[in-house]
Symmetry: C2
């Protein structure tokens, strides 16, 4: 087994930008059914096991349940060398261990700018001020009296994959793509609150501010605020988790995670965008000519194969192999995902499975019969706006090599004959 806790670049990976496409599976492999007959003498079948012999624990043991002890590897992981301090850092969702489109709350990646604020909901307030007819302050109880809605959305950090701009670096999709999660949010459409306050005609922008130690602040155009934003207090049915903004966070569907202000305490209406730290020196894209793109809010169409991947190698040898991954677009739904086994020479359309919801993760599968040859796996997503996920080189050609944010380039995994998987690039 590979060491899945070590995301450091391998020597090989760093030099593999021009990995040769040789000796790969020719053409499309065909999905086949799997299953194996076992020898009749297997003691796990013929002998009574302890769990069948002795009573287990009762229903009074775990008021709030936890995962199995055998799933101890399915955790968020941070990368200590990535930032100066863990209170202003990132940990990553273990995408390689998950399936479907919902991320369990305990595994949703964290990105903090001043650590997790711990707030008693009884002491939390949301203020709306600025260019409004009536400035308002809401308690949590006030907010729960408005009509509410439930929507499934992905939340992706703008920096997801940022370390990969200059070449394959991190050996695992948890680290290359794990700054994303997807949950069901329950909250009040933001437009209801703005209507309650009465936005003045020159109120064209909104400043969202968090109550944490970083007082995170971002400018949001009024059109978006009135369109599909939510002021959310629940995720996956229960209260937001502390690290996700408990008791209140803003949802800005399809847009970069930094704008989804956690511990939301204030919404100021203004007539032009602000120029806060997190939308000037950060969360802008430095181009090759020294200029910076700003207001790059939408998370573009993207996908990644989550298994096989460096942390989820093929351990069962030849034969039936489930290739699976995630696709998403901040513009809407995913219409199609193609998968290549040979680094882009030939493509097959993957099977999309589960609900297809706008601005939510989509799950795809390609069931193949692996002949044991090397693979260069890639996935390429297309959204309902007709946008197609670009290659990393196309991105670099357009934006240079200084960027951190908005890397939606196609990811390549190399699978060797033994099923070991590495992060590589193909030119």
């Amino acid at each position: 087994m590979v060491d899945i806790t070590d995301p450091k670049p391998t020597k090989k990976a760093a030099s593999r930008r021009d990995f040769l496409k040789a000796g790969l599976l020719g053409g499309a492999a065909v999905a086949a059914s799997a299953g194996a007959a076992r020898a009749a003498g297997d003691p796990l079948i013929t002998e009574i096991q302890d769990w069948n012999r002795y009573l287990g624990e009762g229903v009074d043991v775990a008021p709030y349940g936890k995962p199995s002890e055998f799933e101890a590897n399915v955790v968020r992981r941070n990368v200590p060398w990535l930032t100066a301090d863990p209170v202003s850092s990132i940990n990553f969702t273990p995408l390689h261990e998950l399936d479907g489109i919902i991320t369990p709350n305990g595994l949703c990646f964290e990105r903090h700018h001043g650590g997790t604020a711990i707030i008693n909901p009884a002491d939390h307030r949301l203020m709306i001020n600025g260019l409004v007819d009536t400035p308002l302050v809401f308690t949590m109880e006030d907010l729960k009296r408005f009509p509410r809605e439930n929507r499934v959305y992905f939340l992706e950090c703008a920096a997801n994959g940022g370390m990969e701009w200059r070449g394959a670096q991190l050996n695992g999709c948890q680290f290359t793509h794990g700054m994303i999660h997807c949950v069901v949010y329950t909250g009040v459409p933001l437009r209801y609150l703005l209507e309650e306050a009465g936005v003045k005609t020159n109120g064209k922008w909104l400043l969202a501010e968090g109550a944490d130690a970083s007082a995170m602040t971002r400018s949001i155009p009024m059109e978006k605020a009135l369109d599909d934003c939510l002021v959310a207090f629940k995720m996956n049915g229960e209260a937001l988790r502390p690290e996700q903004g408990y008791p209140l966070r803003l949802c800005v569907p399809g847009w970069e995670g930094n704008m989804w202000v956690k511990w939301l305490r204030r919404l100021e209406v203004g007539d032009e965008p602000w120029a806060q730290r997190e939308e000037t020196s950060k969360y802008t894209d430095l181009l090759a000519d020294g200029k910076a793109r700003r207001h790059t809010w939408v998370m573009d169409v993207k996908s990644v194969i989550t298994s096989p991947s460096p942390q989820a190698p093929v351990t069962h040898g030849k034969g039936p192999l489930v290739i699976t991954g995630l696709a998403w677009s901040g513009n809407g739904t995913i219409k199609r995902v193609d998968v290549t086994l040979d680094g882009g020479r030939t493509w097959q359309t993957a099977r999309l499975d589960g609900p297809s919801l706008p601005k939510a993760l989509h799950r795809f599968y390609l069931d193949i019969n692996w002949d044991g040859s090397e693979l260069l796996l890639q996935s390429r997503a297309m959204d309902d706006q007709g946008l197609v996920q670009p290659t990393k080189n196309e991105l670099r050609l357009a934006r240079g090599e200084n960027s951190i944010y908005h890397n939606n380039g196609i990811q390549t995994w190399h699978v060797n004959n033994d099923g070991v998987v590495e992060n590589v690039e193909v030119s």
Copy 2:
């Protein structure tokens, strides 16, 4: 506040079967927007709070996250006097605290017959034997090589609400309706495994057997097995929880929870149903004439208002009030939910919100402007087969008063002028 940890019958509730419908809100209340302007002197607004002043914990603290300390009341609860021992008992999902349609894994109710089996997935096997061409034994890795699917299903214990057959008993929807949860299951369609084994032409029934200390066994007709059953290894994206059958459980969509065999270890194909304990002395419905209904598998159309409810009283006084609840049907989707504020004299159609998926929970809302009068709240669901949720008295008329299972009768909550809610019945 009411004591939400005490489900014991109140004296009042026990005598309220013929609760009088007097002094209630006349006619339909109209939804209205809420929100309150606060005084400018609120120190929570004017003063900097600790969570804004001091850095919080970093991303290295919680590899697997937990709920906020302020949500300590949002837990499963068992009722010690209900059964002789907690290893063969029930705890209940806190429906009154949840929203949307997804139940977090840590809050999914438990029902065990021999406690929770703890099984290392490396040691788990699934055998298919009986009337098949090739008996098979699968490891977990084998199963994960088959094409898999993701589906959202509710799982309801047949005994959900069983304590209420003879009258209003338990003061809280956690206890009256909390033997239900709804998650996204990931697994292999059972028909793929049966096709691999090759079911003989006289193979008309399946015996599903668990690996726990109760060796739970249930008979399932082959038509259902080949239709929509799943052999599931994930729930809400991550591995099944131990108390939900880790590493493998059978999903029998829309049918009673007892058939969703946990810790699934064997599937035997036969030519007629078995007569196991859990489908003869248990999970049959004793009628008034002493005969018992059996093979009552489908969970019928049902709904409940989760808030307001006895554990979720109205604490904010008059004005905008969100009434919300859940509806479901083992036959398919929910087409409509009606809500009455006056014990059934007048009905309003509730707003269904979120995805409408077959054999899954549906969330409904009715946003009203409460004038502070007493309410007799009920919800009534209709499914896409045209079936309508009956009253409890209609159920008793049809099946007598001996039943425990399959109580899908309409629930009534009485809300008094102070917003206190109790479990009552109306004749």
